[in-house]
Symmetry: D2
Subunit: 388 residues, 4 copies
């Protein structure tokens, strides 16, 4: 067992990044239900993200999505963030919303479109230079809808070529982190469909290329914590995109669908050293709130990650190892479940109190009047959204 003080220190040091797009409107292909008070520009998104940090104390960074968060002056945006107590985190590229990308971006059969897509990725590295971001997060919607539509193998060649060019452009501590997704929006093949594909490409790129595990991007039944443990062992786990789902990729709040799974994932993170800052594993939320209010949705999500982390830290590692060595199936399971079944909410409330925060972030945010204020103030203009 980690000592009580080590548990507390680890929880105090935890950092969970929220995504700028979580604060804008989102929905399904059937309908986007607009909410009042939604940000109209990246500055307002960062203001909302700063609220999540203000009430939780563990969400000091916010990911951007280019071009959704394109601004003329990134230094000004970074300063705006700093003024509000937060920083710019990862830069997310978007090569799926231009009409040119209907049949793919970096894997498109048309070299002109591939060039355009790669140029956008390189532009994102420029943004990183401007904002001081460490991570270029790449997710490709590329794939095909019908058997025969394109050559599966040739698309891998094109992908490898594009990644190599972008990786070569990185400098210093910058990283390329590559996300995989089982399917959607491509419905037959996806060019980076699983961790194995992302891993194989990252391996060839080099040390600063790592895999992003989005918890919602797997085939039914996939054991995600196995992948986490495996990538940590290989030194190739770059980041998490946290969210949860009952079916396909649903953007539900992390921990909402299967809190036990989130705990098991965090247990492997703890086991594999992923909480150690030296591991450079980034913990990000990547989820949108279609029907629930957006800032509270992020606050609750951050709290869910905290609770799972706290439980994972409470696992009695010595007792667990002893039971495992003895082949005591029920005993080893019981050690894990004992931690999971512990109610850690009081512990986290106490830590918040020590940090000068309200013990209940949800209630404190509700009391703050921020929600009413943005509803009143953010009138006119165009609400942020995916622009699909």
């Amino acid at each position: 067992m980690t000592t009580a003080s080590a548990v507390r220190a680890a929880l105090k040091g935890q950092q969970i990044e929220t995504p700028s797009w979580a604060y804008g409107n989102s929905g399904t292909r059937f309908k986007v239900f607009a909410q009042q008070g939604v940000p109209r520009d990246p500055f307002e998104k960062i203001a909302d993200a700063a609220q999540v940090h203000a009430f939780t104390g563990v969400a000091p960074t916010v990911s951007l999505h280019i071009p959704w968060d394109k601004v003329a002056d990134y230094a000004a945006l970074a300063k705006h963030a700093a003024d509000l107590g937060v920083r710019i985190g990862a830069i997310n590229a978007n090569v799926f919303q231009d009409d040119d990308y209907m049949l793919g971006s970096v894997t498109n059969p048309d070299p002109r479109i591939r060039r355009k897509a790669v140029d956008h990725l390189l532009e994102c590295v420029d943004v990183m230079d401007g904002t001081g971001s460490r991570d270029l997060k790449l997710w490709f919607s590329d794939g095909t809808n019908y058997p025969g539509q394109d050559d599966i193998r040739a698309r891998q060649d094109r992908l490898a070529e594009a990644l190599a060019e972008v990786y070569a452009r990185l400098t210093g501590e910058q990283r390329l982190i590559l996300e995989y997704k089982f399917f959607e929006p491509a419905f037959y093949t996806t060019d980076v469909p699983d961790w194995g594909t992302a891993y194989a490409h990252c391996l060839k790129l080099g040390e600063r290329a790592k895999v992003v595990v989005d918890t919602g991007h797997h085939a039914p039944g996939t054991n995600i914590e196995f992948i986490v443990a495996f990538l940590l062992r290989e030194g190739k786990l770059g980041a998490f995109d946290f969210n949860s789902r009952f079916y396909a990729d649903d953007d539900l709040m992390v921990g909402a669908a299967d809190p036990f799974q989130l705990f098991r994932i965090m247990h492997e993170v703890v086991r594999g050293g992923g909480l150690d800052p030296a591991s450079e594993v980034a913990f990000m939320l990547d989820q949108c709130h279609n029907i629930e209010p957006k800032i509270p949705g992020q606050i609750r999500s951050v709290m869910n990650v905290q609770e799972a982390t706290a439980k994972a830290l409470l696992v009695d590692a010595d007792a667990l190892a002893a039971a495992q060595r003895a082949g005591d199936v029920l005993g080893a399971n019981a050690v894990l479940m004992d931690a999971y079944n512990t109610d850690v909410r009081a512990l986290l409330a106490e830590l918040r109190d020590e940090a000068g925060l309200a013990p209940d972030p949800m209630a404190a945010y509700a009391r703050s009047g921020y929600a009413e204020r943005i509803k009143a103030e953010r009138v006119g203009g165009t609400q942020a959204g995916w622009g699909a």
Copy 2:
């Protein structure tokens, strides 16, 4: 085996309905890629549907979707259709795109919203009266995203009440056909998630209430032909919404993802008497074309259903029954596979030729110049789409 002449007669008599929304723009939550020449109003959609019938000879009706296809004068729309050689088919209600429906329509906890939703359904019956449509097709996006969000059971009470009111409004030959869907856009519970739920409600409503099987709306691995056989045995199969998918509901062309499954479904249809017009089973397409051209996408889909039907009709029913009675597993399977492995394209080409149609509908449509004409003519105005 059905005699050769009976096979030909059955194929000549087949009718496959295409949906008006297949001709408009559609996409995923990530992006809708607009296509040139897309209809701007219901009249243009019907013109496109008439093309599918003109080249295949077996698609004489087109489903409407209200309010997407709302017009001031339904008689004029029906006459327009008749002038182009087609008819109005089923009326599809839409209670998922008004802001009021964020937490549900007929199952919403708010009685005002439920009233509004039911009123829309009743209005759809008015449209049926105006167009002479037989079928009111109901699909509800209603459900919840989070455990606890609403009371699962109370929502069933509300659903039952709404359905009863609408069913009571039907007259003459009109039917209420109820569609189920595994998930999406609701991500935790869906109020009509499976055939059992739809069946139970239809049973209580009465004889003119039947179940719609949408081939894309099932849990992974579900044996759809079993459901088809079961519902036919119970006299409760109302209609098909055809499409196909490799993952979740993807709107791929029917038969594109698993042509053998489509064949097995049509085999159960033939076995259960579903091709007999007296069965009143409606065969509809319900699929959108996100990256492929829309009219050819419908033509190919209609042809896929025809090919599967032809193969199903070629199954040697006597040999199959004999092998089944004998417990000859491989022999019975071989009888089925023999029909499936037969290339029926020449037979269908011959039937088209006899009907005065070009033997290859795809090539004939391409030659017709219609695609170029609508691209040139349909400039300006607003392209039809889902309006999500």
Copy 3:
């Protein structure tokens, strides 16, 4: 919220049935790993089941499986149980292990085999008469492995006929409870694959025919609590077969794979009145322990059901309903999660203490020396198992 005293009363009154086959050897098709001390006959199985009751206080009945638990004198067996403080529960029929059943039992194309299968079911009712059991639990492995192998619809006719004959044989309070299963051992069609099929048959049979929900028998992603809520609303939920799984039907301890799901299920049970004895919902375990010791595996499973039930009882129903009525998505979810996140282990320990039991049943059983005793005593003879 149920008052604290009502919560305690409900928990004290809970009854969870364990299955005789859980105490014998079991495994996968790859290997059955025999354990020491396993029972050699039904009397020894009941002795083991009595241990589970002795340490938990809530497992007073044990299901039998015929012919695995066939004895010459059922009155003697019942007396043996009574002497040990337990009773005989449901009778499970077995029509899947005779060579005759290779292509099906009650749905077999061969009428002789169907007759044999139905006769076995009727014999099981005789056993019920002899043991005083209320429930005949029917699970059919019947189905097909290959398309075309048999006629899906004809098999339903045969199934309906068999069920009707058996149902007619019941007397008094006896019930026929029908289990469904997604697949296995049949690999293409299963004759009762889902709740809808079981429900439709039970509806035709009559009031004393009800559906069994085995938590491991669903397609991936199926929302089981929806089914529970639906069947309770229809008065057709007969019983649970509890177990858990990460993939297909795996016989893991209930609550081991997804404790949150078990809680959601119990929440719907509480909501729908299923804990009320008048509802006649039976709570049974149906799981085998392949690698973990068998009696502790059952004790842990019983405790898992207790903990989920306790949490479900702690849900603040008034607050939940208020949030649901208000359309407060996060608020309603929070009410549910508050109960789930509560550590109920101390409460249950207290209740055990009040009942004169050790607060920790696992530790108490380990201390009891029973495991060592049966290892020493049960030497020679043939260990009980599935006999596959």
Copy 4:
């Protein structure tokens, strides 16, 4: 398009290996239905495999499974095979049926058991030396059933160590081919659950370590042809284990559940050069016949692979590439479907005729009287089976 003569040459040169265990009894955990005439020893299994080759002409090798096929004199077994016109193929290790392996073999926490398991693997290489086999096929049932049961990461360390020792023992052309499986018999974690894990280990082992794709061993919805294309591009596709399934790993005949998928897989094999003997891709069946007769089940399976291969060879590669380059989604799909929809049975019959074989292998085998002969002769002794 491959020229007609090249298509014929490729089909004549195809080699499909059948597994010795397909000829013995097999079943599910519920029941093994014994069949008459089943082999009693490895010599009789090889005799049956020789029948499959005699009637299809493309199944000249047979895989062994150690210890199921353990004999005193492997040279004698190899000579027996040669006398019957076939050869010994891959050697399959079995480290899942000894009581010691309950909690794992090469990943077991107990070093003694790991040693025993590795020794068995080394012994299998001895058998390869004795039989002249090229391939050591490794499938590990290793994994865990419960969260916490063992350390996921430590098990990878142990696995890597075991593989390295075995790989070092190989000589000459010998290969280690590593199979992955989604789940079963382990129900929580599996130590080699997906192609990514197998690939990562093979990469570290070296050039003679390659991945085995078992078509039944994937999560629902997995795009297997993508994996095939990817591994071929990486030079890491070692072999196929062919079979098919509707649900989990079901051992149905390859091509029986989804013939279109098999075609798509063979299309990627053709595209990626996998039919070229220099690629060293082995095509093996790995399936058991639970309810269908075993030799005909293998013959039909071999024919199914042949038919899928023939269709894949008929794809007009130039037309396909042109449509792909042009972004013609429907056109490219149509090229593929044109080949799939072609009835290739006459072509294959013709090729058989040219090779001096009966055009219909199923009918010819049935006429041969072999089935009746082995039923009469193989009386007494113990039928081969899995011995679970």
